[in-house]
Symmetry: C2
Subunit: 139 residues, 2 copies
């Protein structure tokens, strides 16, 4: 996923390539870990961008549609997103008190899932595992 893909996608939908969309795309591309719309907005503001919250909210669905990000979880009452990176799948532990998200990856766990799917003749494409509980600090 690079800017070229993004632009082709935008064009092919009959939409327009604009400065604001570019700024948002770039910022998300540079983002590691989770973010919510407000954080994204603030980060752009700090960099001197003049985007509005409305544009953030209007662009996020496009980024989801093109597969750049996905909605992870609504911890409190707002949405959280995360960049999809083909090379680094991982699962999540989510603290029910402070909302912290701990990413982890377990090859054994992945293999186990593959086995279970084989047994059921289910062709696995992707999965999502979220463990809810209390982080070290909040217990």
């Amino acid at each position: 996923m690079n800017k070229e893909d993004f632009r082709n996608f935008i064009s092919s939908k009959g939409l327009k390539i604009t400065k604001k969309r570019d700024e948002i795309f770039d910022e998300v591309l540079n983002t590691k870990g989770h973010f919510d719309p407000e954080e994204l907005y603030m980060r752009l503001k700090q960099k001197g961008s003049k985007v509005s919250r409305a544009s953030i909210y209007r662009t996020i669905p496009l980024l989801v549609e093109i597969g750049l990000i996905e909605e992870v979880e609504r911890v409190d009452k707002h949405a959280h997103y995360e960049r999809v990176s083909a090379d680094s799948h991982h699962d999540h532990m989510i603290c029910m008190k402070c909302g912290k998200v701990i990413e982890f990856f377990s090859p054994t766990l992945e293999m186990l899932q593959d086995e279970i799917c084989q047994r059921e003749n289910f062709h696995k494409i992707r999965h999502s595992l979220e463990i809810f509980g209390l982080c070290k600090q909040c217990q």
Copy 2:
């Protein structure tokens, strides 16, 4: 979990056993599957109850605390709850073509998760595993 437990819990917290709390408790006890606060409110209204939304919102945390229900997922932008039934946890395979849901349970998988959480000092309360792909028929 029965009304006796509920009343003891309420009393032991120095709170009061009221008609409204009873009504809400009864209604949740009779609920199968997921619900959100609005649905619960409407169902009570239809049965002639005079509860207010405020009481629904104020009582739900008590029901969560006593373990009658748990927050399942914020699908859209509002909270969803589900009655806890100790005997039947399971995970899901979801067919991306026909939408079929296959439930499964793997003790090994559960144990593995417990281990991972221990390693991170994360106190696990619940989890949700969803595998997306194609079922036997749809491949």
